[in-house]
């Protein structure tokens, strides 16, 4: 059996050449590659010497390096904008030692069904910068849906704009450090007591994630004191599958109820 080969590039240019090799994957220190079978993988590119760490603010644009860990994101976003949705999503994700290893890059590239990160990045309309076979700047939704775009590339930075959102994140878990069966991320823009824009997403559905467009249509233009939780529940119809789901129908009902509660709590506070 061919032995796995490790590469230690010192520059992004070197990494870009390596990532275009067949059966060679980038490794940023996260846990995703440890979970998967490495059969068919000939080499791993260890990225830690590359300038891919750090979170920078340039005006209203935030850029997060792909090697940033969840712990890095929580710490830095707390300084930039306390209670930002990314901090809310990641601060209870996994546990303390795992948050010191799970990287933004790995999470986006692998997009596991329990991801606490992807939902937030989608509703933030984040963009990813890629190097390799398909270099360029792409909306994150395109990156995660397009297998061909992802082939033989690695992403260096994810960016999004800072805006004044009311935000909330809900994780359906059995214990505090459990991987969520699903999670909701909600962004609301409220002006003079009225919702002027809403962005809602559920991650962990049968299609990996679902934008809650019917709920968004209901909420947009609504006065916050006339939000009816049952009207929200009625508009949630999600499909769940997989071994972690005991009863897909029950999970869908629960998802609707929790979303309704979450939004009512958001506007009350």
């Amino acid at each position: 059996m061919k032995e796995l080969k490790w590469y230690y590039p010192k520059t992004l240019a070197d990494a870009e050449i390596l990532v275009q090799q067949k059966n060679v994957l980038p490794h940023g220190g996260g846990t995703g590659l440890l979970l998967r079978n490495l059969t068919g993988v000939d080499g791993l590119i260890e990225l830690y010497q590359l300038p891919l760490k750090g979170i920078k603010r340039s005006g209203n644009i935030i850029k997060i390096g792909s090697l940033c860990t969840y712990a890095d994101v929580v710490l830095e976003m707390r300084k930039i904008k306390p209670d930002h949705i990314l901090e809310k999503c990641l601060r209870h994700s996994a546990n303390t030692p795992l948050r010191n290893r799970i990287t933004v890059g790995g999470s986006i590239a692998m997009f596991p069904p329990w991801s606490d990160l992807i939902g937030a990045l989608i509703v933030l309309n984040a963009r990813v910068s890629l190097i390799g076979e398909n270099p360029g700047d792409f909306p994150i939704e395109r990156y995660i849906k397009d297998k061909i775009l992802r082939q033989n590339t690695m992403f260096t930075v994810v960016k999004f704009s800072l805006a004044d959102w009311h935000s909330a994140h809900y994780r359906e878990v059995r214990t505090s450090s459990d991987m969520p069966i699903f999670n909701h991320t909600v962004l609301l823009k409220i002006t003079e007591g009225r919702i002027v824009e809403s962005r809602l997403i559920t991650v962990g559905t049968a299609t990996k994630y679902t934008r809650l467009t019917k709920v968004e249509e209901y909420l947009n233009g609504l006065q916050i004191n006339s939000i009816d939780g049952t009207e929200i529940e009625k508009r949630v119809s999600l499909k769940f599958t997989g071994s972690r789901i005991d009863d897909p129908a029950y999970t869908s009902i629960k998802a609707g109820i929790e979303l309704g509660r979450m939004i009512q709590q958001m506007v009350r506070s």
Partner: protein
Amino acid sequence: MRGNFTVNGKKCQFEFQADERLLISLRNNGYTEVKNGCMEGECGACLILLDGKPVNSCQVFTASAVGKDIKTVKGIGSLHQPHVIQEAFVEAGAVQCGFCTPGMVLATYSLLQNNPNPTEAEIKSALDGNLCRCTGYVKIIEAVKLAAERLQVNGGYHE
């Protein structure tokens, strides 16, 4: 494969398989104070400090840690010169079987370096990656508080 590491302040070289985990490499090279609990990153028994940050060594490829600084529980104190935290764990009765203790001690060490006077909620949060099947955690939390108190009296870590 071969790689250089710094473990508990000493430079050393390990030979390891390309897909080997740091936990296994450490144990194979005599650092058996790093315990093998779950191999899934859930229990924290294998916790070490990697470049100063607490990580589960079972979730690290050894090849990914080449050149880095590793601290195990033996790196913070010894049988004859225990660290304040190690003493606190013993005095508070926070050790039963002892299997989780190395990880708990290092998680505490990391917490108190960054937050010398943590609240109970902050203690629970910092130790959320360390499971104990024996104690029910009450004594462990008391031990952390005792260590924090003593470290403040002694003026913190001296390294």
